[in-house]
Amino acid sequence: MALMNLVTAVNHTLDHEMARDERVVVFGEDVGVEGGVFRATVGLQKKHGPERCFDTPLAEGAIVGMAVGMAINGLRPVAEIQFSGFMYPAYNQIVSHVARMRNRTRGRLTLPLVIRMPHGGGIKALEHHSESLETILGHIPGLKIVVPSTPYDAKGLLLSAIRDPDPVFFLEPSKIYRAFRQEVPEEDYTIPIGKAKVVREGDAVTVATWGAYVHEVTKAGEQLAQEGIEIEIIDLRTISPLDRETIINSVKKTGRFVVVHEAMKTYGPGAELIALVNEKAFLYLEAPPTRLTGFDITIPIPRGEHHYFLDAERIAAGIRKVVNF
């Protein structure tokens, strides 16, 4: 076991899997020589050679398109997009091919590949460096979308992602890349994609969240507990496909539902969860399922960004309203 933060855990996991499976190749902008702008791939080129960890020219569409071809020809590409806001140039490849190759060919060609990228904001970065992409990826059939919230989960989920027979988007909350450290076993272990985790049990309300916000919601939960409100917190871990069972069972128990996310509200990921809860647990609902989310604006550049994010206090305030409905 070793103490690792989230980005170190990603680095360790890539190293681990490259050593174990020679089909794994890692590439992207600044990924090779420098080891990535967040240093997620540092040391990999030196250790595994420039053929297995390398820099590419600046072109996200080609990076993802190349990954498609590599996966078809027997490799297990793990491509990095430098920031989620630079995924858009690759969106055509993602929607038109990454998501569809299996279905298009009725299973003849499959794409075991991973696209990693930093996710979300809160690091006082420039415009386009703080995007939350759950909806525009989650709406596309054929993709799997994973967001880890801890170093331990990052390793287990990333190993699952690389070994998954289907394309997995691995969204790494950059705000908590170095926020805290945790014991991460050196050994091999996986955490299943498509399973959520109840990170706090309670009966007052079910609160679904993921990524960096798990920690804010947890803080809110501690605050509320002091007021006698015990909330149940679900870390989704996987955005698509959703673990409907865990969510629905919890809502049936608590009768109330709140989803907390950083992404914009309208047509955002929370809407899906609320629709789901309606479909599966309508008769259990004692209060309107509620969204605590980013505003429907472009996320502000640094001086204003704190207004966009929800902290524990604002989350607690929002949850209180639902509990007192």
Binding site: A59, G65, M70, P241, L242
Partner: protein
């Protein structure tokens, strides 16, 4: 090296056989036996026959939208003929000759245009990708496949196709550039058929040739007479050889002409003059190769007619069998989204099946 001898920036274009089937550059004529040439010609004949039959069936309302290859058979077959069995082929969508040559049988292609995904499920033993509709996007797949071959230390080459229109989209430049940087064993073939639907080649780019787009990626480029099987083959085999030898990618512009419509939904009289087509008709790649084969004494007009009739009958037969397969299986529509059907898809599928069963009752 042909790419050195024929500089697109000087307006040079490789031609070995002229429209009359006469060999005009004997020193450059590739070393192909008459038998092999005849074999390739037969694939071209089948391509043309399949086109004709598909158009006919479409007019009868039996085939859906279909994109004909007529006029481009030499560009397709001549290039793909330079590949070996284990090499990879990554087409766009108008490469019937290449598919057929690479042992993707006509029923797959017809089935695809007939509107069934199983038409893109090719046998395990062919290294050929299916039709790719988003223009240009397939080129980067080819680069990835080629680079994988290289990283694995395998000697396979990848050949990929795009149209003149497709050279304008960013994917094209990105693919050439990546291929150059990584020295990927890939050959890019542009079928310049002078049109992107209704948009003329001159509106597509101010570049005098498409071959010169190679310069931007620092890789060799050559323009060839795309209606001359020998020219296409010669350039393609040189490029394949270079790729296999670890010398990286090449861009080949096959200068040809789309004699038919863009697809069966298109009416070319809306945007081009009959006179233009009339200029190209005598340059038909079939005509000149047939003439060559007849001159060589290995083929005759009668054989040609008979073979054409046979292929058309075959194409009709293939199509009839496809019509008989009927409706697609509903489960198939759901089953291939992921390796395992997630719970929500199982639910949607089950509900739909129940609904269908309810209707039948």
């Amino acid at each position: 090296m042909l790419t050195k001898r024929f500089d697109p920036l000087k307006g040079e274009r490789l031609q070995i056989m002229d429209p009359e089937g006469k060999i005009v550059a004997p020193d450059l004529k590739p070393d192909l036996s008459d038998e092999r040439v005849l074999e390739l010609y037969r694939v071209m004949l089948l391509t043309r026959a399949a086109d004709n039959k598909a158009l006919q069936l479409q007019r009868q309302g039996r085939m859906l939208t279909y994109a004909p290859n007529t006029g481009q058979e030499a560009a397709q077959v001549g290039s793909a003929a330079a590949l070996q069995e284990t090499d990879w082929l990554v087409p766009a969508f108008r490469e019937l000759g290449a598919w057929l040559l690479r042992r993707v049988s006509l029923d797959k292609i017809y089935l695809y245009w007939y509107g069934n995904e199983w038409g893109s499920h090719y046998p395990e033993n062919v290294r050929v990708l299916p039709i790719s509709i988003p223009i240009g996007s397939q080129l980067n797949h080819a680069v990835g496949i080629a680079l994988a071959s290289k990283l694995k230390g395998e000697g396979d080459v990848t050949m990929t196709y795009v149209g003149d229109g497709g050279t304008s989209i960013g994917d094209f430049s990105e693919a050439l550039n990546f291929a150059g940087v990584f020295s990927a064993p890939v050959v890019f073939v542009v079928q310049n058929n002078q049109y992107a639907i209704s948009v003329k080649r001159s509106i597509q780019t101010k570049a005098a040739t498409l071959a010169q787009k190679a310069v931007a990626a620092g890789i060799p480029g050559i323009q060839v007479d795309g209606n001359d099987l020998f020219a296409v083959y010669a350039a393609a085999s040189e490029a394949v050889g270079r790729a296999r030898a670890g010398e990286g990618p090449t861009l080949i512009e096959a200068y040809t002409y789309r004699l038919g419509a863009h697809t069966t939904s298109d009416d070319p009289t809306k945007y081009r003059e009959d006179e233009e087509v009339a200029v190209w008709l005598p340059k038909d790649p079939m005509k000149r190769l047939k003439q060559y084969l007849i001159t060589q004494g290995v083929w005759s007009e009668e054989q040609d007619k008979a073979q054409t009739a046979e292929y058309e009958a075959y194409a009709l037969d293939v199509f009839r069998k496809i019509e008989e397969t009927g409706e697609p299986n509903v489960e198939d529509l759901f089953k291939y989204t992921y390796a395992d059907m997630p719970e929500h898809l199982v639910e949607q599928y089950n509900e739909y099946v129940q609904y269908l069963e309810g209707k039948v009752k």
